[in-house]
């Protein structure tokens, strides 16, 4: 890794997600790459959900952070391969839990089970981020944002968001 690429990574290392500020864009897997193109440095980001309203903000934040660090780089948005919650770092998942959001399970292999199975054979357990209880129920498939579902803990009675596998 040459010096300018390393400097860009260092500048962006702790840049927080605008929606969930306890995790960084790098933790979430949104910041994909910093590379040297023919005409200069390129920072690659990938959108989470197609309609995520934070994407514009994220792009602006990346640009501003690079500018503040005196780094000249282009910001490139890349769709493929599609973002997945499996790219989230373990550290990022732990920060989510501490913040009160249950981190995502791994995406199921193949993922096309929804086609023919009427109901999942076994509903996945989402442990409560507050008390750790596995005794939780889903209240709604969609929580405060499209990427989260709303759950309730039947032990401590607290509601919480679950970051859905994507």
């Amino acid at each position: 890794m040459n010096a300018s690429v390393a400097a860009a990574w260092a500048a962006l290392e702790t840049l927080a997600d605008p929606e969930i500020p306890v995790v960084s864009l790098r933790d979430l897997g949104i910041l994909r790459d910093v590379r040297e193109a023919a005409d200069g440095l390129e920072v690659v980001i990938t959108p989470t959900y197609s309609g995520c309203p934070a994407m514009g903000q994220i792009e602006d934040d990346v640009r501003a952070t690079l500018a503040n660090a005196g780094i000249a780089a282009r910001v490139v948005t890349q769709l493929a391969p599609a973002w997945t919650t499996d790219w989230m770092t373990e550290e990022g998942k732990e920060k989510l839990r501490a913040y009160g959001i249950a981190p995502p399970h791994r995406t199921p292999a193949g993922s096309n089970v929804v086609r023919f199975i009427a109901k999942p054979a076994q509903v996945e357990t989402v442990p409560c981020p507050h008390c750790g209880s596995a005794h939780t129920v889903e209240s709604s498939h969609f929580g405060s944002t499209a990427c989260k579902a709303l759950y309730k803990c039947l032990d401590c009675q607290e509601p919480f968001d679950y970051f859905k596998p994507y």
């Binding site: 959108p47 197609s50 309203p53 493929a80 997945t84 086609r115 023919f116 709604s140 498939h141 499209a146």
Partner: protein, 260 residues
């Protein structure tokens, strides 16, 4: 290029029109959770539409932009399925906000999501790499839309006598419009021969399996279909699309080039 843009506009218009329709529930949902769910589904759909319009704009070049495609085309230029532009009402109810019918919303979202879960998966292999990338993202999203609408279909269908009757009525009203899925348009035919599009009729058996399994669980009866096949994807729309577009496009047309 033309086979690609015509086909992409069909996919984009589907997503935008249904996204706009579902957004009508924002602030009016039957319960708070559903208000939020429908708004989130709309965001996904409008996000998918934006990616597709951006791709069309880049293929067309010149001064074409995603906003130009969404806000400055007329009714007959839209290529969405007629099913998606219908209001949230059964055929015999009024058109007041208060007579919006959640069963109609759920049945439509279910019928469309069941198709798109299959179509996006097939489009991951499109010869157009940009479309394949959009399909891979959209597939992840539509699986949640299908799960949401399917769960509510079962809950309403296998619910009270009132919820069952309204859901069956919504199904009877909307199901004939799904005939349009299987009637190939010239734009689809061109995209299929270019390797960009997917022949939707190859997905029909799987769609039937998803629909029949859910209807069975929901204790609903699959209506017989026949008669007129709508042609929204050829630009021949119901009277409802004009009103939807008027509301959606009025701001951009009143203040062209406005930024906020």
């Amino acid at each position: 290029m033309k086979p690609a843009t015509d086909y992409l506009l069909h996919l984009a218009d589907n997503a935008l029109v249904l996204g706009q329709r579902n957004a009508e529930w924002c602030g009016h949902g039957p319960i708070l959770e559903e208000d939020i769910a429908l708004s989130n589904v709309s965001l996904d759909l409008i996000g998918q539409a934006r990616l597709l319009y951006q791709l069309v704009a880049s293929l067309k070049g010149g001064n074409c932009t995603e906003d130009r495609l969404a806000y400055f085309r007329e009714t007959h230029e839209f290529r969405n399925y007629t099913l998606l532009e219908l209001p949230h009402h059964g055929p015999l109810s009024g058109y007041a906000q208060s007579s919006m019918d959640y069963a109609t919303t759920i049945v439509r979202n279910f019928l469309y999501s069941a198709l798109m879960a299959l179509l996006w998966e097939a489009l991951e292999k499109s010869a157009n790499a940009d479309l394949a990338a959009i399909a891979a993202k959209s597939l992840k999203e539509v699986r949640y839309h299908l799960r949401h609408s399917r769960d509510w279909l079962v809950r309403l269908g296998d619910g009270t006598a009132e919820s069952h009757a309204r859901t069956q009525a919504a199904l009877d009203h909307l199901f004939p419009y799904t005939q349009e899925f299987w009637a190939q348009s010239p734009a689809e035919a061109a995209a299929i021969s270019a390797g960009i599009g997917v022949d939707v009729t190859t997905l029909k058996a799987d769609w039937n399996a998803i629909v029949d399994a859910a209807l069975g669980e929901a204790t609903l009866v699959r209506p017989e279909v026949g008669g007129y096949v709508t042609e929204g994807k050829k630009g021949i729309h119901s009277e409802h699309l004009g009103f939807l577009l008027a509301e959606m496009q009025s701001l951009a047309r009143a203040h062209p080039n406005a930024q906020w």
